[in-house]
Subunit: 334 residues, 2 copies
């Protein structure tokens, strides 16, 4: 059986172009003991993948040039030599960027028994949802009724962070770009602030207008001017959960940080980075599923998806992440 997959043959400088990604194929060998073959149905593309293209180990090993890229995916078992899986089982795994994956059974998880569409486990009930929940609750220790700011508030993680904060009775301000994203945020009861055409100072003034008393928690996905504007508006004892800094992922030279880091001191604030796949975070996944799963099954979380059709469109889906091209979770349907 053939597997078609995307790979890269060099490390990109800046934002890669569409043709930087090569679609190749290989004949899959017979299944070895404990291996499982999976027909992928949904692929996830995520900003963190950009870091894995640089050939440097950060918190995950880099992608290997010439080998299939990796990423979260949902698929259906075609054939199994692991007794825990039988053909037809729905599974989630990291063998994305390809149509057919062949993996050790240990690297597959059966989809949890919650009545939601399977791709929800790549988004609202997968890594992005878990990331929003962990950043707010465990890293920033959000309390009821606090003032919360979320950057990239209509993205896969941000769109859930704003809703989880709203569900906790918080006053929520979200930063986004496109008018339809701002509108959607407003429909959720979130005060939406556009970053477009603004420097840090202007953005800071608009955040102040949206929340004159400032922010207790800042959920950071972006960095750059968003961080500088947010620092201007933090309250005493504020917590900044650093989930991502997408502004810098494609920078070709180091870009300076905010000039107002002294706000951390003046406001006795805390800024903390976290990686959702670290054991001390991921071990709370069952707790997250138990709390958030029922909300999703009952339709109480308005999770959005932006879907590209067909394996061939995977690089396009990935590149859109850096162009503001998605509302909610960016997915590829095979």
């Amino acid at each position: 059986m053939e597997s078609r997959y995307f790979t890269i043959h060099s490390h990109p400088q800046g934002l890669p172009s569409r043709d930087f990604f090569a679609l190749e194929s290989q004949a899959l060998p017979e299944l070895a003991a404990d291996e499982v073959r999976v027909q992928n149905l949904w692929l996830s593309v995520d900003p963190y993948m950009r870091g894995r293209m640089d050939g440097v180990t950060t918190y995950v090993p880099p992608f290997n040039l010439g080998e299939p890229l990796e990423g979260a995916a949902i698929g259906e078992v075609l054939e199994s030599r692991d007794e825990r899986f039988t053909p037809g089982d729905r599974v989630v795994h990291m063998g994305g960027w390809r149509d057919v994956a062949q993996l050790p059974g240990d690297s597959l998880q059966a989809l949890p028994d919650i009545d939601v569409p399977p791709q929800a486990f790549l988004g609202v009930l997968g890594m992005p949802g878990m990331t929003a929940w962990t950043g707010l609750n465990r890293i920033a220790q959000l309390k009821e009724g606090e003032h919360v700011l979320v950057s990239a508030a209509s993205g896969a993680v941000g769109s859930l962070a704003v809703q989880l904060a709203k569900a906790k009775g918080c006053h929520v301000v979200g930063i986004a770009g496109a008018p339809e994203k701002l509108e959607w945020l407003e429909s959720l009861g979130v005060s939406a602030v556009s970053y477009r055409g603004k420097d840090a100072q202007q953005l800071s003034a608009d955040l102040k207008a949206a929340s004159p008393d400032g922010f207790d928690v800042y959920y950071e996905n972006v960095g750059g001017d968003c961080l500088e504007a947010a620092l201007d508006n933090i309250r005493v004892g504020a917590r900044i959960a650093v989930c991502g800094l997408i502004d810098s992922y494609n920078a070709e030279t180091p870009t300076p940080g905010p000039s107002n880091l002294s706000r951390l001191l003046i406001r006795r604030a805390r800024m903390e980075g976290f990686i959702i796949l670290d054991a001390q975070n991921w071990e709370h996944y069952p707790e997250f599923l138990q709390e958030i799963g029922p909300l999703v099954a009952r339709g109480e979380l308005d999770y959005r998806e932006t879907v590209e059709e067909g394996l061939e469109r995977t690089p396009d889906a990935f590149l859109k992440l850096f162009e503001g091209g998605n509302t909610g979770k960016m997915l590829v349907r095979l």
Copy 2:
């Protein structure tokens, strides 16, 4: 009775010059009920005072133009209308930058009964010592045997932070400038690294040479290149206690922050500012005295003082803080 004091008549731009400070005098009124008159013996000058000269409330109210500047001081009671104090008592208070202070009794503290020279309560057993102890233990949650980096490591706070960390069995690297400061640090068993003539990249390489495995805790007094070089060298789970950012206190325009804040994310690190006079910090002062007082009384902490003689030299003492002119606590003896 006359009180001679220093004041300022405008807000400085950048580092003020010596003649920016005016020595003036006033006749003190009769003591009101509950007031105490104190002959000052020792005055403290500290970097945070620069912030109070800007006319803006940060975490302390600004100095009032034309009124006596304020700061920690040790003195002897001359006359008292507060029954808790009698002439001859040694007290610590905030009526510094002057020779005679007249204050409500509520704003005085009797010196604790520990057998040390009185000025120790402005340094090793005062705010600087408490700041070092709090930053390491309560903010950074330092554990035995960890790798610790301290900037401004020969300053009032840094020189105590390095020793408290050594006493906890930690591997300690200190950043300082002058050769005699580096030598003194080495004599304490601290690996000393000079910042002089180096950009962030060179400093980073030297820190890596001094501690190839990086740092679990960074005690930050400086900011700028020190912060950037430190971020390059933090380990997974690192904690950065932000005590001060002296590099920026005299900046006339905002200076960009470090270009590598993404290290907080990659290393799942935490950066937290704190203000020692906040109630949740200062309430631990008795605990600090109980732990550190005996060490000082037994001569087990090598605390240094740099002393200027006479009230007239107070501005000179203050300005030296920004020129690397002090080892340990900067004091004025009257």
